[in-house]
Symmetry: C2
Subunit: 153 residues, 2 copies
DNA sequence: CTATTTTAGGACAAAAGACTCTCTAAAACC
DNA sequence: GGTTTTAGAGAGTCTTTTGTCCTAAAATAG
Protein backbone atom coordinates (compact mmCIF):
# COMPACT_ATOMS: atom_id res chain seq x y z
CA UNK A 1 0.00 0.00 0.00
CA UNK A 2 1.11 3.49 -0.84
CA UNK A 3 -0.24 5.07 2.33
CA UNK A 4 -0.78 3.60 5.78
CA UNK A 5 -4.32 3.14 7.04
CA UNK A 6 -3.75 5.85 9.63
CA UNK A 7 -2.77 8.20 6.85
CA UNK A 8 -5.83 7.37 4.77
CA UNK A 9 -8.05 7.95 7.80
CA UNK A 10 -6.32 11.26 8.38
CA UNK A 11 -6.96 12.27 4.78
CA UNK A 12 -10.63 11.35 4.93
CA UNK A 13 -11.04 13.28 8.17
CA UNK A 14 -9.26 16.31 6.73
CA UNK A 15 -11.48 16.34 3.67
CA UNK A 16 -14.50 16.06 5.92
CA UNK A 17 -13.34 19.01 8.02
CA UNK A 18 -12.83 20.98 4.82
CA UNK A 19 -16.55 20.68 4.08
CA UNK A 20 -17.33 22.50 7.31
CA UNK A 21 -17.40 26.11 8.24
CA UNK A 22 -14.00 26.64 9.74
CA UNK A 23 -15.28 28.79 12.59
CA UNK A 24 -16.86 26.01 14.65
CA UNK A 25 -15.18 23.03 16.24
CA UNK A 26 -16.35 19.58 15.13
CA UNK A 27 -16.46 16.87 17.81
CA UNK A 28 -14.32 13.88 16.80
CA UNK A 29 -17.05 11.51 17.97
CA UNK A 30 -19.58 12.92 15.54
CA UNK A 31 -17.02 12.97 12.73
CA UNK A 32 -16.00 9.37 13.41
CA UNK A 33 -19.59 8.26 13.01
CA UNK A 34 -20.08 10.14 9.77
CA UNK A 35 -16.92 8.93 8.09
CA UNK A 36 -17.12 5.47 9.69
CA UNK A 37 -13.82 5.28 11.56
CA UNK A 38 -13.40 4.09 15.14
CA UNK A 39 -13.72 7.06 17.50
CA UNK A 40 -10.67 6.36 19.65
CA UNK A 41 -8.44 5.46 16.78
CA UNK A 42 -9.40 8.55 14.83
CA UNK A 43 -8.73 10.63 17.94
CA UNK A 44 -5.16 9.34 18.04
CA UNK A 45 -4.59 10.16 14.40
CA UNK A 46 -6.03 13.65 14.69
CA UNK A 47 -3.81 14.26 17.70
CA UNK A 48 -0.87 13.89 15.34
CA UNK A 49 -2.36 16.40 12.94
CA UNK A 50 -2.97 18.79 15.82
CA UNK A 51 0.58 18.34 17.09
CA UNK A 52 1.88 19.06 13.58
CA UNK A 53 -0.08 22.29 13.46
CA UNK A 54 -2.61 21.28 10.81
CA UNK A 55 -5.58 21.32 13.18
CA UNK A 56 -6.81 23.37 16.10
CA UNK A 57 -8.46 21.54 18.93
CA UNK A 58 -10.62 22.68 21.78
CA UNK A 59 -11.79 20.78 24.85
CA UNK A 60 -15.16 20.81 26.54
CA UNK A 61 -18.73 21.26 25.31
CA UNK A 62 -18.89 22.64 21.77
CA UNK A 63 -15.25 21.65 21.48
CA UNK A 64 -13.64 19.47 18.85
CA UNK A 65 -11.23 20.05 16.01
CA UNK A 66 -11.09 22.27 12.94
CA UNK A 67 -8.59 23.12 10.23
CA UNK A 68 -6.00 25.62 11.34
CA UNK A 69 -5.67 27.11 7.84
CA UNK A 70 -8.13 27.60 4.97
CA UNK A 71 -8.80 24.40 3.04
CA UNK A 72 -7.22 25.98 -0.03
CA UNK A 73 -3.90 26.18 1.79
CA UNK A 74 -3.72 22.58 2.97
CA UNK A 75 -2.66 19.89 0.52
CA UNK A 76 -2.72 16.12 0.75
CA UNK A 77 1.05 16.33 1.00
CA UNK A 78 0.75 18.19 4.30
CA UNK A 79 -1.38 15.43 5.78
CA UNK A 80 0.73 12.59 4.38
CA UNK A 81 3.93 14.11 5.70
CA UNK A 82 2.36 14.67 9.12
CA UNK A 83 1.28 11.04 9.47
CA UNK A 84 3.46 8.81 7.30
CA UNK A 85 6.50 11.05 7.17
CA UNK A 86 8.71 11.65 4.15
CA UNK A 87 9.85 8.04 3.54
CA UNK A 88 7.60 7.55 0.52
CA UNK A 89 9.26 10.49 -1.21
CA UNK A 90 12.83 9.86 -0.24
CA UNK A 91 13.41 6.13 0.01
CA UNK A 92 15.03 3.99 -2.66
CA UNK A 93 12.62 1.64 -4.41
CA UNK A 94 14.98 -1.24 -3.73
CA UNK A 95 15.41 -0.22 -0.10
CA UNK A 96 19.11 0.60 -0.41
CA UNK A 97 20.50 3.14 2.04
CA UNK A 98 22.05 6.23 0.52
CA UNK A 99 20.66 5.56 -2.92
CA UNK A 100 20.88 8.83 -4.79
CA UNK A 101 22.30 10.61 -7.76
CA UNK A 102 25.89 9.71 -6.86
CA UNK A 103 25.32 6.15 -5.82
CA UNK A 104 22.18 4.90 -7.53
CA UNK A 105 20.53 1.49 -7.78
CA UNK A 106 19.50 0.30 -11.27
CA UNK A 107 15.95 1.44 -10.72
CA UNK A 108 16.86 4.85 -9.37
CA UNK A 109 16.09 7.02 -12.40
CA UNK A 110 12.79 5.42 -13.29
CA UNK A 111 11.68 5.44 -9.71
CA UNK A 112 12.59 9.12 -9.39
CA UNK A 113 10.20 9.89 -12.24
CA UNK A 114 7.39 7.91 -10.66
CA UNK A 115 8.03 9.47 -7.29
CA UNK A 116 7.74 12.92 -8.84
CA UNK A 117 4.37 11.90 -10.17
CA UNK A 118 3.23 10.90 -6.70
CA UNK A 119 4.65 14.10 -5.26
CA UNK A 120 2.88 16.13 -7.91
CA UNK A 121 -0.44 14.45 -7.11
CA UNK A 122 -0.14 15.09 -3.39
CA UNK A 123 1.05 18.68 -3.70
CA UNK A 124 -1.45 19.74 -6.32
CA UNK A 125 -4.48 18.45 -4.43
CA UNK A 126 -5.71 20.93 -1.86
CA UNK A 127 -8.51 19.99 0.49
CA UNK A 128 -10.59 22.72 -1.12
CA UNK A 129 -10.12 21.18 -4.55
CA UNK A 130 -11.22 17.78 -3.29
CA UNK A 131 -14.29 19.17 -1.60
CA UNK A 132 -15.25 21.10 -4.75
CA UNK A 133 -14.95 17.95 -6.80
CA UNK A 134 -16.84 16.01 -4.15
CA UNK A 135 -19.69 18.49 -4.17
CA UNK A 136 -20.01 18.93 -7.90
CA UNK A 137 -19.89 15.24 -8.76
CA UNK A 138 -21.36 13.73 -5.60
CA UNK A 139 -18.25 11.76 -4.78
CA UNK A 140 -17.88 9.85 -1.57
CA UNK A 141 -15.73 9.41 1.50
CA UNK A 142 -17.51 6.43 3.00
CA UNK A 143 -18.39 2.91 1.99
CA UNK A 144 -21.99 3.83 1.26
CA UNK A 145 -23.70 7.08 0.46
CA UNK A 146 -22.65 10.16 -1.47
CA UNK A 147 -21.15 13.48 -0.57
CA UNK A 148 -24.33 15.00 0.88
CA UNK A 149 -23.84 12.63 3.78
CA UNK A 150 -20.81 14.66 4.78
CA UNK A 151 -22.44 18.03 4.31
CA UNK A 152 -25.39 17.09 6.50
CA UNK A 153 -23.63 14.77 8.97
CA UNK B 1 6.13 2.15 1.53
CA UNK B 2 5.21 1.39 -2.01
CA UNK B 3 6.46 -2.21 -1.95
CA UNK B 4 6.74 -4.63 0.95
CA UNK B 5 10.18 -5.68 2.14
CA UNK B 6 9.56 -9.19 0.86
CA UNK B 7 8.82 -7.74 -2.54
CA UNK B 8 11.96 -5.63 -2.57
CA UNK B 9 14.03 -8.65 -1.60
CA UNK B 10 12.39 -10.62 -4.39
CA UNK B 11 13.26 -7.89 -6.86
CA UNK B 12 16.88 -7.74 -5.78
CA UNK B 13 17.18 -11.51 -6.02
CA UNK B 14 15.58 -11.53 -9.46
CA UNK B 15 17.97 -8.89 -10.75
CA UNK B 16 20.86 -10.89 -9.32
CA UNK B 17 19.68 -14.05 -11.08
CA UNK B 18 19.42 -12.08 -14.30
CA UNK B 19 23.16 -11.40 -14.15
CA UNK B 20 23.80 -15.14 -14.26
CA UNK B 21 23.94 -17.64 -17.07
CA UNK B 22 20.47 -19.05 -17.06
CA UNK B 23 21.63 -22.62 -17.63
CA UNK B 24 22.99 -23.26 -14.14
CA UNK B 25 21.16 -23.28 -10.85
CA UNK B 26 22.27 -20.77 -8.21
CA UNK B 27 22.13 -21.92 -4.57
CA UNK B 28 19.97 -19.60 -2.49
CA UNK B 29 22.54 -19.68 0.30
CA UNK B 30 25.25 -18.24 -1.91
CA UNK B 31 22.88 -15.67 -3.37
CA UNK B 32 21.69 -14.60 0.08
CA UNK B 33 25.26 -13.88 1.11
CA UNK B 34 26.00 -11.85 -2.00
CA UNK B 35 22.91 -9.68 -1.86
CA UNK B 36 22.88 -9.56 1.95
CA UNK B 37 19.48 -10.99 2.78
CA UNK B 38 18.81 -13.63 5.44
CA UNK B 39 19.09 -17.08 3.86
CA UNK B 40 15.91 -18.57 5.32
CA UNK B 41 13.80 -15.53 4.67
CA UNK B 42 14.99 -15.25 1.11
CA UNK B 43 14.21 -18.94 0.61
CA UNK B 44 10.60 -18.33 1.61
CA UNK B 45 10.27 -15.42 -0.80
CA UNK B 46 11.81 -17.32 -3.70
CA UNK B 47 9.45 -20.19 -3.03
CA UNK B 48 6.64 -17.81 -3.90
CA UNK B 49 8.35 -16.86 -7.14
CA UNK B 50 8.87 -20.53 -7.94
CA UNK B 51 5.24 -21.33 -7.16
CA UNK B 52 4.17 -18.47 -9.47
CA UNK B 53 6.24 -19.88 -12.31
CA UNK B 54 8.89 -17.16 -12.45
CA UNK B 55 11.72 -19.40 -11.24
CA UNK B 56 12.84 -22.99 -11.71
CA UNK B 57 14.23 -24.75 -8.68
CA UNK B 58 16.25 -27.89 -8.29
CA UNK B 59 17.15 -29.81 -5.13
CA UNK B 60 20.40 -31.41 -4.17
CA UNK B 61 24.05 -30.71 -4.95
CA UNK B 62 24.48 -28.21 -7.79
CA UNK B 63 20.85 -27.34 -7.24
CA UNK B 64 19.37 -23.92 -6.59
CA UNK B 65 17.14 -21.57 -8.52
CA UNK B 66 17.25 -19.83 -11.88
CA UNK B 67 14.95 -17.69 -14.02
CA UNK B 68 12.39 -19.73 -15.88
CA UNK B 69 12.31 -17.27 -18.80
CA UNK B 70 14.94 -15.02 -20.41
CA UNK B 71 15.61 -11.88 -18.38
CA UNK B 72 14.26 -9.81 -21.25
CA UNK B 73 10.85 -11.39 -20.80
CA UNK B 74 10.49 -10.81 -17.06
CA UNK B 75 9.46 -7.38 -15.81
CA UNK B 76 9.40 -5.88 -12.36
CA UNK B 77 5.64 -6.06 -12.64
CA UNK B 78 5.80 -9.86 -12.81
CA UNK B 79 7.75 -10.00 -9.55
CA UNK B 80 5.63 -7.41 -7.76
CA UNK B 81 2.40 -9.16 -8.71
CA UNK B 82 3.80 -12.51 -7.59
CA UNK B 83 4.73 -11.23 -4.14
CA UNK B 84 2.59 -8.21 -3.25
CA UNK B 85 -0.36 -9.01 -5.47
CA UNK B 86 -2.37 -6.51 -7.50
CA UNK B 87 -3.59 -4.31 -4.60
CA UNK B 88 -1.21 -1.47 -5.39
CA UNK B 89 -2.66 -1.19 -8.88
CA UNK B 90 -6.31 -1.66 -8.08
CA UNK B 91 -7.01 -0.17 -4.68
CA UNK B 92 -8.54 3.22 -4.04
CA UNK B 93 -6.12 5.75 -2.59
CA UNK B 94 -8.61 6.52 0.17
CA UNK B 95 -9.23 2.83 0.84
CA UNK B 96 -12.86 2.90 -0.22
CA UNK B 97 -14.30 -0.38 -1.46
CA UNK B 98 -15.66 -0.38 -4.99
CA UNK B 99 -14.10 2.95 -5.85
CA UNK B 100 -14.11 3.16 -9.63
CA UNK B 101 -15.32 5.06 -12.63
CA UNK B 102 -18.98 4.78 -11.63
CA UNK B 103 -18.57 5.43 -7.94
CA UNK B 104 -15.38 7.42 -7.41
CA UNK B 105 -13.85 9.13 -4.41
CA UNK B 106 -12.65 12.74 -4.83
CA UNK B 107 -9.10 11.61 -5.41
CA UNK B 108 -9.96 8.90 -7.90
CA UNK B 109 -8.94 10.59 -11.15
CA UNK B 110 -5.66 12.00 -9.93
CA UNK B 111 -4.74 8.74 -8.29
CA UNK B 112 -5.55 6.84 -11.48
CA UNK B 113 -3.00 8.95 -13.31
CA UNK B 114 -0.33 8.35 -10.69
CA UNK B 115 -1.12 4.67 -10.62
CA UNK B 116 -0.62 4.48 -14.37
CA UNK B 117 2.78 6.02 -13.89
CA UNK B 118 3.70 3.33 -11.37
CA UNK B 119 2.30 0.64 -13.65
CA UNK B 120 4.29 2.03 -16.54
CA UNK B 121 7.51 1.97 -14.52
CA UNK B 122 7.02 -1.63 -13.44
CA UNK B 123 5.97 -2.92 -16.83
CA UNK B 124 8.64 -1.15 -18.81
CA UNK B 125 11.52 -2.36 -16.65
CA UNK B 126 12.69 -5.82 -17.65
CA UNK B 127 15.31 -7.60 -15.60
CA UNK B 128 17.57 -7.47 -18.64
CA UNK B 129 17.26 -3.68 -18.82
CA UNK B 130 18.17 -3.31 -15.17
CA UNK B 131 21.19 -5.58 -15.50
CA UNK B 132 22.39 -3.65 -18.56
CA UNK B 133 22.09 -0.40 -16.69
CA UNK B 134 23.75 -1.93 -13.68
CA UNK B 135 26.70 -3.15 -15.72
CA UNK B 136 27.23 -0.02 -17.77
CA UNK B 137 27.00 2.41 -14.87
CA UNK B 138 28.25 0.22 -12.03
CA UNK B 139 25.06 0.48 -10.07
CA UNK B 140 24.44 -1.52 -6.95
CA UNK B 141 22.10 -3.99 -5.31
CA UNK B 142 23.68 -4.05 -1.87
CA UNK B 143 24.50 -1.58 0.87
CA UNK B 144 28.16 -1.46 -0.08
CA UNK B 145 30.03 -2.30 -3.25
CA UNK B 146 29.18 -1.92 -6.90
CA UNK B 147 27.75 -4.17 -9.55
CA UNK B 148 30.89 -6.26 -10.10
CA UNK B 149 30.16 -7.77 -6.70
CA UNK B 150 27.15 -9.48 -8.24
CA UNK B 151 28.91 -10.62 -11.38
CA UNK B 152 31.70 -12.25 -9.38
CA UNK B 153 29.71 -13.35 -6.32
C1' DC C 1 22.71 -47.87 1.13
C1' DT C 2 24.69 -43.81 3.42
C1' DA C 3 26.17 -39.22 3.78
C1' DT C 4 25.84 -34.63 1.86
C1' DT C 5 23.73 -30.76 -0.40
C1' DT C 6 20.10 -28.35 -1.53
C1' DT C 7 14.91 -26.75 -1.77
C1' DA C 8 10.18 -27.21 0.65
C1' DG C 9 7.31 -26.55 4.45
C1' DG C 10 5.76 -25.65 8.95
C1' DA C 11 6.17 -23.92 13.67
C1' DC C 12 7.65 -20.25 16.13
C1' DA C 13 9.41 -15.43 17.77
C1' DA C 14 9.89 -10.48 17.30
C1' DA C 15 8.46 -6.08 15.64
C1' DA C 16 5.31 -2.96 13.62
C1' DG C 17 0.76 -1.45 12.55
C1' DA C 18 -4.03 -1.19 13.70
C1' DC C 19 -7.22 -0.78 17.07
C1' DT C 20 -9.52 -0.70 22.08
C1' DC C 21 -10.05 0.78 26.73
C1' DT C 22 -9.45 3.61 30.64
C1' DC C 23 -8.14 7.47 33.01
C1' DT C 24 -6.89 12.52 33.09
C1' DA C 25 -7.43 17.41 32.03
C1' DA C 26 -9.74 21.30 30.30
C1' DA C 27 -13.85 23.84 29.33
C1' DA C 28 -18.81 24.84 29.80
C1' DC C 29 -23.12 24.91 32.15
C1' DC C 30 -25.88 24.61 36.13
C1' DG D 1 -18.51 23.51 43.43
C1' DG D 2 -20.31 19.60 40.81
C1' DT D 3 -21.61 17.52 36.56
C1' DT D 4 -21.13 16.98 31.73
C1' DT D 5 -18.69 17.22 27.43
C1' DT D 6 -14.94 17.09 25.01
C1' DA D 7 -9.66 16.24 23.62
C1' DG D 8 -5.16 14.13 25.42
C1' DA D 9 -2.34 10.40 26.85
C1' DG D 10 -1.06 5.83 28.17
C1' DA D 11 -1.48 0.86 28.59
C1' DG D 12 -2.90 -3.07 26.52
C1' DT D 13 -4.72 -6.32 22.65
C1' DC D 14 -5.03 -8.21 18.04
C1' DT D 15 -3.22 -8.78 13.46
C1' DT D 16 0.15 -8.59 9.88
C1' DT D 17 4.77 -8.46 8.50
C1' DT D 18 9.27 -9.79 9.15
C1' DG D 19 12.48 -12.96 10.36
C1' DT D 20 14.38 -17.49 12.67
C1' DC D 21 14.71 -22.38 13.24
C1' DC D 22 13.94 -27.13 12.62
C1' DT D 23 12.57 -31.16 10.01
C1' DA D 24 11.34 -33.48 5.66
C1' DA D 25 12.11 -34.58 0.88
C1' DA D 26 14.73 -34.78 -3.32
C1' DA D 27 18.96 -35.23 -5.74
C1' DT D 28 23.90 -36.42 -6.03
C1' DA D 29 28.14 -38.81 -4.98
C1' DG D 30 30.62 -42.28 -2.89
Amino acid sequence: MLLSKSCVYGLRASIYLATKNNSEYIPIKKMSETIEISHHFLTKILQQLTAQGLLDSYKGPNGGVRLKKPASEITLMDVVLAIDGPDLLTECALGLPGCGHQNPCPLHDKWATTRDSIKQMLESSSLEYLVERGKSEDLRLTNEGGFEKLLNG
